[in-house]
Symmetry: C2
Amino acid sequence: MKNDTDTATTRPSDLSTQIAGQIRDAIISGALIVDERLPSEAELAEQFSVSRPTVREALKRLAAQSLIRTQRGASGGAFVNRLSFEDAYPQQITTSTLLLSMNDVSFDTACEARFALERACTGLAADRRGADHLDVMRAELRRQSQTDLTDEAFCASDVTFHRALVDAAGNPVLSYHLAGPVEAMQPLMNMITFTARSRARIVALHTAIVDALDARDAEACDTHLRALETYTRQLAADVMARRAQQG
Amino acid sequence: MKNDTDTATTRPSDLSTQIAGQIRDAIISGALIVDERLPSEAELAEQFSVSRPTVREALKRLAAQSLIRTQRGASGGAFVNRLSFEDAYPQQITTSTLLLSMNDVSFDTACEARFALERACTGLAADRRGADHLDVMRAELRRQSQTDLTDEAFCASDVTFHRALVDAAGNPVLSYHLAGPVEAMQPLMNMITFTARSRARIVALHTAIVDALDARDAEACDTHLRALETYTRQLAADVMARRAQQG
DNA sequence: GACAGTTAAATGTAAGACAAATGAAAAATG
DNA sequence: CATTTTTCATTTGTCTTACATTTAACTGTC
């Protein structure tokens, strides 16, 4: 399967792009294994018949994707990087956020996707949640109840709450794939000004969710998440309507 | 030449990394708008007090993340790229695949996450699936029934089938977030040798899924997806057991 | 044999040059 | 005057060379 990262139209792209692609394919195919050292820049340059700066540009591309790391000195060089979940998180969040902000995806579409994915965790979370997860969620609940909280801090706490829910499913792959959808909603949520009443409603739903997890009741958890989605979308619709009315 | 204002507190990372970070932050924060042109490489070099190759390495990092695009010629330069879903797909798939292959995630964990996320689409897919989605799925069903198909081709068809299911939900954000989990399973599935009997069972479950979507029966769709997950994990467990037995 | 200085190898950075692409201005042509 | 062609300036793509910096290994001295 050839996974050309750029140029759908078979353009004769840059040399550095081509070289980066070849090395990337070698890593993906397993020809280069984790912690293996690549040839030195000078050797790569000779091997690909290009200059050293061109090779360096290719290596920088790979480093930007955390596929390799470089080390200076005598036994230095470029090494195939073990791509960790920690490395991949920020990249995933950045990409998800930019996708939403640059493609004017409607609030409804983004919200629908996010809650649909989050509800995918309820079954596992109800089974596996530990006391620590409940503790985190209840701590955030207390924070969300403080009336002097800014809207931004409220949203940030909301994100922490939901990530604890996701982590409660005890599946690191699931946690990774939900980081993007959950975090990318935060800028959109920040556009909503939360009244005391709407905050109270959200906290009530959050409380119901925690209690459902505490009781290991997946169905109730799912139900309350649906209610939270409905309410969130209603809030956003109200904001839109008010904004359209006022010009 | 050592006029660096930030000496002690900041990481002694590469200049190109620092510069790339600054430009990236400007894009994320909205200081640089989509399709806006960055200063020329020479101007950036002077602005950051570095050489042109260093600036170029920074720009290549950003290009690797599809944050910018470059164009040669008189009115060329580096432009802030509108990050499209098409651009983000390959990156997402590559990262997901490497995360699984490099972190020895168990088959069960990866499979659990993938099916949990896919089931998140059933409700919307049952509501919104069009005739075209059913057509694609049925076409893949016919392909999967051909006995002369290699295991790789069978798995590839499987991926196409499930992506059609996801797309049937009619939510591009959802489709994007599911591309990784679904595609990244393919290498793991390729480790399983499918007997005629196991293929028949899978095709039967796939058929049940399509029929459920055709009838707009979300619950049945969910049920059959669960059955497919159970069967897939059983198949993998059998392979593992056989492999452990034979040494 | 332990320690310190030296050396070699590799990446990081700089500077200058030329090639190639590209759009716009200038010039030639009808 | 309108149109086509030519020229030209700008910008990225690439190469060459050189030097700085970092780091591990080597080597010589005590």
